[in-house]
């Protein structure tokens, strides 16, 4: 995973709530077996059918910080939603509330999700709409967002922040505790089910 320390870019104001993962990337775009190349599916229905969809506007086409309404990423567990956003050039998503699995997936892939109060989301929307070139800096080291004369603090739990700052891979971290896993396995009841061998239904 790529490390995330700080990022500066412009904002795409997505004034929608409960943006579900089927909107971020529909099922027909999930058939690829690689981990990249999902940008063609990103918000494809809205990009195709709605001329004034925010990402269809040239002034927001290069945005790298997506600021969305509450409950972003509800629905499916598809990590493809995170990959599609990253393939589409986004490094940060800001919302007042995220769906759990989406938030989890983003930290694994190196996309930063930042929770801000809805009033701060509205302020960012207004700033980006007033001037789409507004440069916004999201700093995970100081846990602050700055644009113009505004500075907004945000919360990030220490462990996740450390992983992102260092770009650490979870599997490698867990492998350090293999002895604990083995000790746990030794105590599991023998009657717990096993998928192998296959038994006739």
């Amino acid at each position: 995973m790529d490390a995330f320390t700080t990022h500066t870019g412009t904002v795409a104001p997505l004034r929608r709530s409960a943006v579900d993962t089927d909107q971020i990337i529909p099922a027909e775009y999930l058939k690829r077996i690689t981990r990249t190349g999902f940008e063609d599916g990103l918000f494809v229905a809205w990009r195709t059918n709605e001329p004034d969809f925010v990402l269809n506007k040239p002034e927001f086409a290069d945005a790298s910080i997506l600021v969305a309404g509450p409950d972003f990423g509800t629905g499916s567990s598809r990590e493809h939603a995170v990959w599609a956003l990253m393939d589409g050039g986004f490094r940060v998503v800001i919302s007042s509330r995220f769906a759990d699995i989406f938030k989890n997936n983003s930290t694994k892939a190196g996309l930063l999700t930042v929770v801000l109060p809805q009033a701060e989301v509205e302020a960012l929307w207004a700033a980006a709409e007033a001037d789409p070139t507004t440069q916004v800096t999201v700093d995970l080291v100081t846990k602050q967002i700055t644009y113009g004369a505004t500075t907004v603090p945000f919360e990030a739990d220490d462990y996740t922040r450390w992983r992102l700052l260092e770009g650490l891979d979870d599997v490698g971290l867990t492998e350090r505790h293999l002895a604990d896993v083995e000790a746990y396995e030794a105590e599991r009841p023998a009657w717990l089910p096993k998928a192998l061998p296959s038994l006739p239904a």
Binding site: T174, D180, K194
Partner: protein, 468 residues
């Protein structure tokens, strides 16, 4: 200290706990399907890792599989490549796979319980948000992303933060024609599509205890539609009887030891929940969705809501966007909405009991000539059972299409899709824009509302049919 059921299962699986870090949880069963796994296996290969516990891992093909001509090679080359990747990965890493045509094949959340692999007190994960289905057995079961799939394959564990606890208590008796689907749609309408974020929901109360395992699975299945990390129900005699004799259920002395343990899996007196929601079952009626998320639902006797009446600006905007997409006018009675397609199936309502309920209503009748009805059993096991009971003939004689097992029109990764502007009544779990096909419009319903709707061609309550 008194604990909730979910806390008991969680605590029993903590491999390692250190302040300031997530807990490391052991995973008892890892279910795998073709869509969310290829990149995880690639990750293993790239790092030179193996699957730590192939014996606790089971794979199936479900999302992409055609429901017609299932023994022919998949026509869509991209779908075929994904299924073939799973076959290669399963062979290379020594994982049991139920491929198309296999007697154990089916939707991942249908086959786990069917084989008896899903048992009380277990931790179960899958790269699929509806893994919450397995919570019906008193298991802690949740959906994960592909990076986490890779983590579980490599280590059989997952870093987790302790979830918050929510109780959804449903007391009283459901009226005839009102089902588990209506209960969960009513719950989601009440708490919202992400209202249970960060929580595990325990469903409890007399109405829940009275439900069959199939109905409990329907409820737990849609926990994710309320944003919950998982949903579960305390195991009881109904659970044990369902499991007894299934291929992977314990036997003999093991069975007794298991039942003894399973019987301890209930929320202790005095345990506290962070959030509590209470519903009176006797007030519930059949529910349908009118919008584009599962929280936008109403009793079927109501009318399409008017966004102008909504005080909250976000809610109003969402309703306006939903109605524009759905092609609906405020004030229209929901029962006047005409549908093109009825879909009976999915991991929410594709089990044998769901097919029985619908078949009973269709027996000896003909569906509306302008309406297409697709019946897709959740697994080959369900299909075989339904055919043994003659349900396939009931459906076909009524004018419905009887298909092979898979996810099918729940998400339209196979050829079963709505066309732009087409409208469905669907027993699945998501009415998101384009979920069942580009431009398709979905109304979520129970199996009995689906059958009633197929007969009339418009959204119909089972009770109205009897009166008609």
């Amino acid at each position: 200290m008194p604990k909730t059921l979910a806390e008991k299962v969680y605590d029993a699986h903590v491999v390692r706990s250190t302040p300031g870090e997530p807990d490391l949880l052991y995973i008892d069963l890892h279910l795998v399907h073709e869509v969310t796994s290829p990149q995880a296996f690639d990750g293993l290969r790239a790092a030179g890792r193996t699957v730590r516990r192939p014996d606790l891992t089971m794979a199936t093909e479900d999302h992409n599989v055609p429901t017609l001509d299932i023994l022919a090679p998949i026509a869509d080359p991209v779908s075929r490549a994904q299924v073939e990747a799973l076959r290669r990965n399963a062979a290379e890493f020594g994982i049991r796979l139920a491929p198309m045509g296999d007697r154990d094949q089916g939707i991942v959340h249908v086959i786990g319980p069917q084989l008896g692999l899903t048992q009380p007190g277990m931790t179960i994960v899958c790269g699929d948000s509806h893994t919450s289905t397995h919570g019906a057995f008193g298991a802690l079961a949740f959906g994960i992303g592909t990076s986490e799939v890779e983590h579980v394959l490599a280590t059989q564990t997952l870093p987790q933060y302790r979830p918050k606890q929510m109780a959804v208590t449903v007391e009283g008796e459901l009226a005839p024609g009102v089902s588990a689907k209506d209960v969960i749609l009513a719950v989601i309408a009440q708490i919202g599509t992400n209202g249970a974020a960060g929580h595990v929901i325990e469903y409890r109360g007399s109405a829940i205890e009275a439900l069959s395992m199939e109905a409990r699975m329907t409820i737990c299945n849609m926990s994710i539609e309320a944003g919950a990390r998982a949903g579960l129900i305390a195991p009881d005699r109904t659970t044990f009887e369902f499991l007894r004799g299934r291929p992977h259920a314990p036997q003999g002395a093991d069975w007794d030891a298991a039942v003894e343990y399973w019987s301890t899996l209930r929320t202790d007196e005095g345990a506290t929940f962070d959030t509590e929601v209470v519903l009176d079952a006797s007030t519930l009626t059949p529910f349908v969705t009118w919008g584009t998320n599962p929280g936008q639902g109403l009793p079927i006797s109501e009318r399409v809501p008017d966004p102008a009446d909504m005080a909250d600006e976000g809610e109003r905007r969402a309703a306006e966007q939903a109605l524009a997409y759905m092609g609906l006018t405020p004030g229209t009675p929901l029962t006047e909405i005409e549908v093109d397609t009825v879909f009976l199936g999915s991991c929410t309502n594709g089990r044998i009991e769901d097919l029985r309920v619908a078949a009973e209503m269709l027996r000896g009748k003909k569906i509306d000539p302008g309406t297409r009805m697709l019946v897709v059993p959740g697994s080959v096991g369900v299909k075989d059972q339904a055919e043994a009971e003659g349900l396939d003939r009931v459906f076909v004689e009524a004018g419905a299409e009887w298909r092979g097992a898979g996810c099918s029109m729940c998400l339209g990764m196979n050829p079963d899709q709505l066309k732009p502007g087409e409208r469905s009544a669907s027993t699945s779990n998501r009415n998101f824009q384009g979920r069942q096909g580009k431009g398709g419009r979905t109304h979520l319903v129970s199996p009995s509302v689906a059958a009633a709707t197929a007969l009339t061609g418009r959204l119909t309550a089972p009770a109205d049919l009897i009166g008609a």
